[in-house]
Every structure is written in C-alpha cells, then in structure tokens.
C-alpha cells in the first residue's frame, strides 16, 4: 500500500512554477513590489528632472535673449548697419537662431528658420509689448521660442533655441531609469525566490518528518531550530507528534490490555465448556444443541482474542526485529507438520528448492498457518500449496476449491474484520487472520494478494524478496 502523501508530492514536483507553490508566490510578490517601486521612482525622477532641466534652460534662454535684445536694439538704431548684419554678427553663448521684426519687416540670419514658422501667439504677444516664451515643434524637433519687444518702435526680437540636446539627455535618463526598474524587478524576484527557499526549507524538514511518522516511525522528531519563529513551529510540531505517539501507544496498549484481560475469563469459559462437552451425553437434545452453539462460538472467540493480541503487538511494532535467513520450503513443510497437516500437497518449483528469505520465522509461520486455516474454514481443505521462484522473489500460493472470493472483494478481504457477501451470514473466522497476514508480509518486505483459482475457488499468493540472490 502506497501512502497517499507520495502521490500528492509527485504532482507538486511536476509543475515547478505553479502558482500553488509558496516559493513562486513569494518571488512574484516581491518582484511585483520591486517593479512598482522602481517604476514609480523612475517616473517621478524623470518628471522632476525634466521639469527642472527645462525650467533652467528656459530661464537661461530668457536672460540671454533679454541681453541680446538690448544689444540688437542699440545696434539697429545706429546708422549704416543693416538688421541682417547685426543678427549675423551674433555669437550667442547657447546656440540659437535669432529673428528680428522691425518696421513691418522680418530679418533673419539663418535660412533654417522662417518667420511664418513661429507660433502666432508668440509673435502677437511680442508685438503687443509683452515678453513671451513658448515651446513648439519645428521640423520635428522641439524648440523654444523667446520673444522680447523692443521699446520705442513696433519691433520685437526673437530667438529660437534647439532643445535637441535636452531631449537627448532626458531620453538617456529615461532609458537609465527603465533599465534600473527592470533590474530592480529581477532582483526583487530573485530575492523572493531566495527568501521563499529559506522559508520553505524548514517546511521541507517538517514534511519529511511527517512522512516518516506516517510511514510508522512514530518517534521521529524535528531537530530544535535556532530561529525563534521556527522554534515555535518545531516545538508545536513535536508536541503534536508526542501527542500522536502517546495516543497511538495508548490505543495499542488498550487493545493489548483488553485482549489480555479477556484471556483468563475466556480460558475459564473454554475449560468449563470442555467439562460440559465430556458430559454432553447427560444433557437433553436442546441442551446438547445449545452446548454445540456455545462451543463453536467460544472457539471463534478464542481465535479472535489470539489474533487481536497478535494484531496489537503488530501495531505496537513489536515484531520483525528478530530476522534470520530461512529456507522457505522447509519453513512451509515444518509449519504443516506442526499443524498436523503433512498430507497437504506442496508442489515445489525446482528453482525454489533451497531458496532463502530473510524473515522473522515465527511471523511467517503464522502467515502460512492463517492461510491454511482460512482455506479450511471457507473451503473445507487446502487443495494445494505451490512454491515458485522468480529471479528476485519467491511465491507461495495456497489454492482451495471452495466458493472463492468475488473479484470486488479481492482487495477488501485483507481489511480488518472484512466480511465477504452481504454480512448477514456470520463468518467462521476471527476476521483478523488475513489482515494480520497481509500486514505481516508487508512488514517483511513482501506483498500478498488474492485471486481466482483457475480450477475454481480461491487462491492466496504471498510474495517475498529472496535473500540469496
């Protein structure tokens, strides 16, 4: 029988990045928070830096244009210098393209910009005597236009600044911030995976110990953790395991105590019934029938108490620590001799003769005894016992020619107190013999099953690992 835990574990291992894995959830959560924070910070930084840079550039530009406008105003008033020459002589600190509107006429030193490309609002403001600035798009490039009115006549001075370098700076900043965000997100996810691993590691230890306990080693415990949080986990887990162990022991002890306490009164009953049996002829017919019923059920009761005692010892794990290599064929023959059943035919495959198994002899003898008794209870007698060898296993097959076991009961028949049929008909056995046998065989490293005997009837097979191969 495979513990269900194994099956669940394998499906978990199957999808390493399932959302149902705690490690994945922690990694995604921390990665997500890192992404939000870094993107938020990046966007904030970009917005602020952009605003500051643009403001600086604009105020610098305005100062430069104010200074230049005064120079231009002075220069154009002097005689003999054309407006175009004045503009062309400028070597402004920051590269810009000057324009001058004077006496209803536009002057420019550059072919790269034409007055009609200036935004109308900027021109109108300047001509109305108001200094103005405006960003606009010129030939697919962002530019800054600054306009200063020149006092005295209806004229204004314009400068158009290319903002391409500023755009480049801002683009670089944006790329840097984006890369930073991606890196921060990845680092967050990696950190999450690592933390998740750290968090899950003690849980792995817990589940390993839990599996050991489920597999029967009730005394498995978690080792004490240094971490205070984990200490609580290990303390409470161990407390739970203690309680479980105590409870199992208490139940086992109870079953053992019950069957033990039943022994003396049951022996009194059996012995008294034996006295009555010897005196049977002194009883009336009704009395004899009642005595026969009493004796039959006492026999069943006795088998039940014996099997229950064996079962509680099995549950307490008291068996199987006393193993030795034995010749399986000899053991079967010896058991039959002890049972005074030497007449039962034992067919031994030549390769099985002399084959050894590593078992607790008395436990395996009990299994053989149970199978023979089972066949005799349900089918009157054992038809044949066969011992066969495979390369790594040995099989003992016990056949009977009886009513057989319906296919749907082939597995359930090994449950404790299993009943085949509708349960109304009382079974003659204790209901524990086959369960105890199957559990014994499994504890000895083998397995046991029931199938249909091809000749009609039931077949029980015990398979044990060979120890001589």
């Amino acid at each position: 029988m495979v513990p269900p835990m194994n099956r669940r574990r394998s499906t978990l291992d199957g999808s390493a990045f399932s959302w149902r894995r705690l490690r994945v959830r922690i990694a995604v959560s921390i990665g997500g928070v890192a992404a939000l924070l870094s993107v938020g910070l990046g966007v904030g930084t970009y917005v602020v830096v952009r605003a500051v840079l643009i403001e600086e550039r604009q105020s610098g530009a305005v100062q430069q244009v104010q200074a230049n406008s005064r120079l231009v105003a002075t220069a154009v008033r002097s005689v003999g210098v054309s407006e175009t020459e004045v503009l062309a002589s400028f070597r402004p600190q920051v590269r810009s393209r000057p324009l001058l509107f004077r006496n209803d006429e536009w002057f420019t030193a550059s072919l790269q910009i034409q007055p009609d490309q200036l935004p109308a609002g900027l021109v109108d403001d300047a001509l109305a005597g108001v200094a103005a600035r405006q960003r606009f798009v010129l030939d697919d490039q962002t530019v800054l236009g600054v306009a200063i009115p020149i006092e005295g006549d209806r004229s204004a001075y314009f400068e158009v600044f290319l903002l391409a370098d500023l755009d480049n700076t801002l683009d670089t900043l944006a790329v840097a911030l984006l890369v930073g965000s991606v890196l921060a997100t990845c680092a967050g996810a990696a950190l999450g995976l690592w933390i998740g691993g750290r968090v899950v590691r003690p849980l792995d230890a817990v589940s390993a110990v839990a599996e050991q306990i489920a597999a029967g080693s009730l005394d498995s415990r978690l080792s004490a953790a240094d971490d205070l949080d984990l200490q609580r986990l290990s303390t409470s887990f161990n407390a739970m395991a203690d309680a479980l162990e105590q409870r199992v022991q208490r139940e086992t002890r109870f079953a053992s105590d019950v069957s033990h306490e039943l022994r003396s009164p049951l022996t009194t009953l059996l012995t008294s019934a034996a006295v009555l049996e010897r005196r049977r002829h002194e009883l009336s017919d009704d009395g004899q029938e009642a005595l026969a019923l009493l004796v039959a059920d006492l026999g069943r009761f006795q088998r039940m108490v014996v099997d229950l005692t064996e079962m509680s010892k099995h549950d307490a794990g008291m068996f199987y620590d006393d193993r030795s290599e034995v010749n399986l064929v000899d053991l079967v023959n010896r058991t039959l001799r002890r049972m005074r059943r030497s007449h039962i035919e034992v067919a031994v495959d030549p390769s099985a003769a002399g084959a050894l198994v590593d078992v607790q002899e008395s436990a395996l003898e009990r299994v053989v005894t149970n199978l023979v008794e089972n066949a005799e209870l349900h089918a009157d007698h054992v038809e044949r016992i066969t011992i066969r060898a495979n390369p790594s296993t040995l099989r003992v097959t016990v056949d009977d020619i009886g009513p057989g076991v319906p296919a749907e009961f082939h597995e359930r028949i090994f449950d404790r107190f299993a009943r085949v049929g509708d349960g109304r008909q009382a079974a003659p056995g204790s209901g524990l013999g086959l369960a105890l046998s199957a559990e014994t065989v499994s504890a000895l490293g083998g397995r046991m099953w029931c199938e249909a005997n091809p000749a009609g009837g039931a077949r029980f097979v015990v398979e044990l690992p060979r120890s001589d191969q």
Binding site: H260, P265, L266, T268, T271, A274, V305, V306
Partner: protein, 246 residues
Amino acid sequence: MLTSREPSASADVDPEASSDDGARILLVEDDPALRRAMELALQMERFVVDAVPDAETALARSQADPPDLVLTDVLLDGMNGLDLCHRIRQAGDMPIIVVSARGDSHDLVAGLEAGADDYVVKPFLFDELIARIRALLRRTGGSLIDHGHPTVSGDLMVSGDWSLVVRGDRTISLTRLETRLLRVFVEHTGQVVSRDQLIELVWSDRTGDDRVVDTHVSRLRRKLDDPDVPSLITTERGLGYRYRPA
C-alpha cells in the same frame, strides 16, 4: 425408586483407567473461577488435583509431598510463577508447565529459562493442555531409559541408566528432558540434528516448538560446557545442532 443413572461421586474415581491415571498435579492459579474450572476439568481427566492460589503455598506443598507435575500461572500475587519454577528446579527435576498470560517470545523464553519444561498461552484449548500434560508425564515419568552399559563419549561419561552424567571430574545434574536431549545428541555423534528431528525424538508428540528446543539446548550447553573450551554442541546455522565430543 432408583434413578436410571448412578450419580458418580467424583470424576477422579472413574474405574476406566489410562496410564496417567491418578497422576498428581499441583495447580497454581490465582483466578478463583479459572482455578476451579481447571480443577474440574483435570479431575474429569482422572488426575488428582491439588489447586492452590499462590506460589508460597505451592512451594510448601511441593516440598512436603512432591506432585507428579506442577502447572503454574506466571502472574501471581507475591512470588510469581517463574520464581516458583526456579525454586522447584533447584530442589529437583519435577516436571513443570507454565501457563502464560502473554504470548511474547521473551516471556516464554523466560519461563523455559526459569526451568519450566513446557508452556501454554492463555486462552488455550483444554485439549491442548491435556495433550501437553500427558506428553510431559510420558517423557518424564517412570524409567524411560533402558539400563545398559556405561557410555563414554570423549571426556563425557554416562552411567548405564543415564542417571549420572560426568564430564571430566564434574558431576552434572540434568533434568530428565535434558537427559533425553543429551542422549539423542550422543546417539547422533558428529551428525547434524535438526530442530524438527529433536522435536520428533525428544518431544515425541510435537508439542514442542523451535523456541522450546533452543532454550533447552542452551540450558544443556550451560550445564555441560566449560566456559573456556568450545561447546560440545554447536549450532549449525539454518540446519540445527551438532554434537562432537571433546
């Protein structure tokens, strides 16, 4: 008017006799109901039963008037059944069957180590107990061994009636069962004797099992062997035992 059936006074005076008839059994059992039931059943089998509730009384009775067989429970108030075995065994080789309330192998081995010849485990079928009692009485009762010439086997010397076993300058006191066991070994000197063979030859009716055999062989060994010399009886793993004289 006479009744059709003569009321029999008691079961143990039935005129039909078997070989064990009248054998006296000292029964030690503290559970009053079980004690009485076993007393009735044993009397019905024509044994003379002396039923007592504790080991102290049993020890006194067995010393005052030795019975043919002692049947004792293990768990008793006061001195327990194993101590009783031990005390009786110190005094002689009176046959003892212990009735154990536990079937654990270490309990059974403890009983046999304490000197019991056989054991039954509660809840037993009365027929099984009777079979064991009769088998033990047959094994130990009367003079089971033919008189003959003294046997010499290595440094072991045995009198013609096997009542005296001497090794070197030591006289060894053996129970009858141990004597039978030794005799089978001596008769099969050098050969491997399986546990099944021993059960067949010593416990003729197969009431014995491997644990009983092993415990009795180890007891025999302890009595025979010198601590510094290899044992006369060696264990052949998976096969049985082999006796080789020194």
